[in-house]
Amino acid sequence: MPEPTVDPVVNETPDEPNAAQVARSGNEVAARSPFQLVWTRLRRDPTAMVSASVILLVIIAAIAAPLIAAWVGHGPDEQFRKEGLTPSGLPTGPNEEFLLGADNLGRDLFVRLIYGAQLSLIVAFVATVGALGIGTLVGMTAGFMRGKVDTVLTWLMDTTLSLPQLLFAISLVSLVGPSFGTTVIVIILFSWAPIARVVRGQTLSIREREFVEAARSLGASNWRIMRVDVLPNLVVPILVYGTLLIPQAIVFEATLSFLGLGVLPPTATWGNMLAAASTGSMYTIAWWMLVFPSAALLSVTLAFNLLGDSVRDALDPRQTLFAKKRRVKKLKTKEIAK
């Protein structure tokens, strides 16, 4: 079944010479997969490269957390009441022993920050994969089946979207008790609906395309059509939403932990580190307890959001196309004026 994998539009962007030009210049025409094309575009985008480096750095630090802890010589939950606290019991600021200072219990802020990164990333990735899976399945089923199934599933999406998320999340946590698993499940529960909505919209248009009709006329089952013909065409929106969902999940986890309803202390998370800074206005005597976790949280979410935007631009070069079209239009009006 002939199915165009690359939109013909893609070849018109100035980055890639079109087939005719390549042929004229005598070079061999190398077929490039859509992912190669996206990668070429992403590599030329400085914002994307900087944010990707930040994310990569944090991921490496998170993986190497035990090594870093061993190198510094402080465990994440170890309390150094002698070294980390002044005689009057106040945390010491950044020094050679504690690179980013100590917290109110004399724990090493730097080591805890890295362990917090590990936890944030794990929660965010697991929750994002879960939400993408459920969202895709629900959205695709709703869009493909239409009718009553669609009505019920769409109602479910709209209701989930209109609930006051955080309030419902905390009341759900109150039922089962806060823990790592609860946090992930709560995030998934309130994140799948926007994806399902987007996927449903895309599926509605894809199911009317010729290749789906062809597959059906060949006797393919609904399940097979959804899996083989529809799903590959949904990869782009799913990928974009996935990148944008990760920072949201990180923020969600941090907020729950900040409220004492996410991952519980002594496990280090950025949220409960900031909660410690805010309890009893600790930050007024130990600014490092507020500044470093905030900076870590902000830079990671910002990096993911910037990367998400860049990925979207790279996957969908229509914006450049619009600019081109307008230029063509202007030229035409000028010609007419002549």
Partner: protein, 319 residues
């Protein structure tokens, strides 16, 4: 119009009804036992049974739900397990604080978001546009509680250290008591709620206005010699308002989450704070009451938005 309204209200009531049922069921199947929580860790089984009987938790589920629903129609949401206060009373008592915070936050969000969005859209690609994009991305990335803590650190602590005590650290003063103090205590919380929410509006207004300004009728308006400012505000913004209003109703639920966090940071004794305290105490009637009230506001907001549509856009006919 009346038919439209009554249909919307009916569907709203049904939604609330469904939510109350789900909440009730969830709390019934919950593994934690409120009677045990209230009786305390040292209580004997006998004492726990006594507490259960006193709270009416030993009745069958259907009977309890029936009592709950009939009570609801009489404005009775039950009594707090914790301090035996009627739930409705404690909610109503905290409503002014939360409403002040929410409305002020929404005003800040709209003022900031729309101003930045228009500024960016009037000259796409300019430094103003780039500044606007930076604002949007920061606003989308920063969690509410981080924004609140940083504001508190800079504007309360650093200013106080420098000898300029203007912003209080925490608390709430009722408007009726002292309007000036009311505003002084709420400025930082308003900015916290507004800053995070403003990003969405700035992005929306920018993208909508950029596309609207390319329309033919805008060219016509310009060719008539109308001032650019008037073209933007009277002709362009008119068509941007509808999506902005939609966004308000979509954001309403998110805004409430921001309120919970902001109330906690700034020590405002509102409904969000009550909800968190009740969650920590296992005070189920209050949790259910707070959820229902929050859902009620979401439903009311969506009805108001539908009405606003009809007023803003004459193409929308209310049937």
């Amino acid at each position: 119009m009346i038919r439209f309204l009554s249909r919307r209200i009916l569907s709203g009531v049904l939604t609330l009804f469904a939510i109350s049922g789900v909440m009730f069921l969830l709390f019934y199947v919950a593994p934690n036992d409120p009677a045990a929580t209230i009786a305390g860790p040292q209580a004997t089984n006998d004492q726990i049974d006594q507490v259960r009987a006193r709270l009416g938790l030993d009745m069958p589920i259907l009977e309890r739900y029936w009592l709950f629903i009939t009570g609801l129609f009489q404005g009775d949401l039950g009594y707090s397990y914790f301090n035996k206060e009627p739930v409705l009373d404690s909610l109503v008592r905290r409503l002014p604080a939360t409403a002040s915070l929410a409305l002020g936050g929404l005003v800040v969000a709209l003022a900031l978001g729309v101003t930045i969005g228009i500024g960016a859209a009037r000259k796409p690609g300019s430094w103003r546009d780039k500044l606007g994009t930076t604002f949007v991305l920061t606003g989308l990335s920063v969690p509410t509680f981080v924004a609140g803590l940083i504001l508190l650190y800079v504007f309360f602590y650093l200013l106080t250290v420098m000898g300029l005590t203007f912003f209080p650290a925490a608390g709430y003063v009722p408007f009726t008591e002292n309007p000036f103090e009311w505003a002084r205590h709420l400025i930082l919380p308003w900015i916290t709620v507004g800053f995070v929410a403003a990003a969405t509006y700035a992005r929306l207004v920018r993208s909508q206005l950029v596309s609207v300004m390319g329309e033919d009728y805008i060219r016509t308006a310009r060719s008539k010699g109308i001032r650019e400012g008037r073209v933007v505000y009277r002709h362009g913004m008119r068509n941007v308002l509808t999506p902005v209003v939609t966004q308000i109703s979509l954001d309403f639920a998110v805004l409430m989450g921001g309120l919970v966090v902001t109330e906690r940071i700034f020590g405002i004794n509102g409904i969000g704070r009550l909800a968190i305290d009740s969650v920590n105490r296992g005070d189920q009637p209050v949790i259910i009451g707070a959820m229902l009230l929050a859902s009620l506001f979401v439903v009311i907001a969506s009805i108001l938005v539908d009405l606003a549509y009809a007023m803003l856009d004459s193409r929308v006919r209310v049937k």
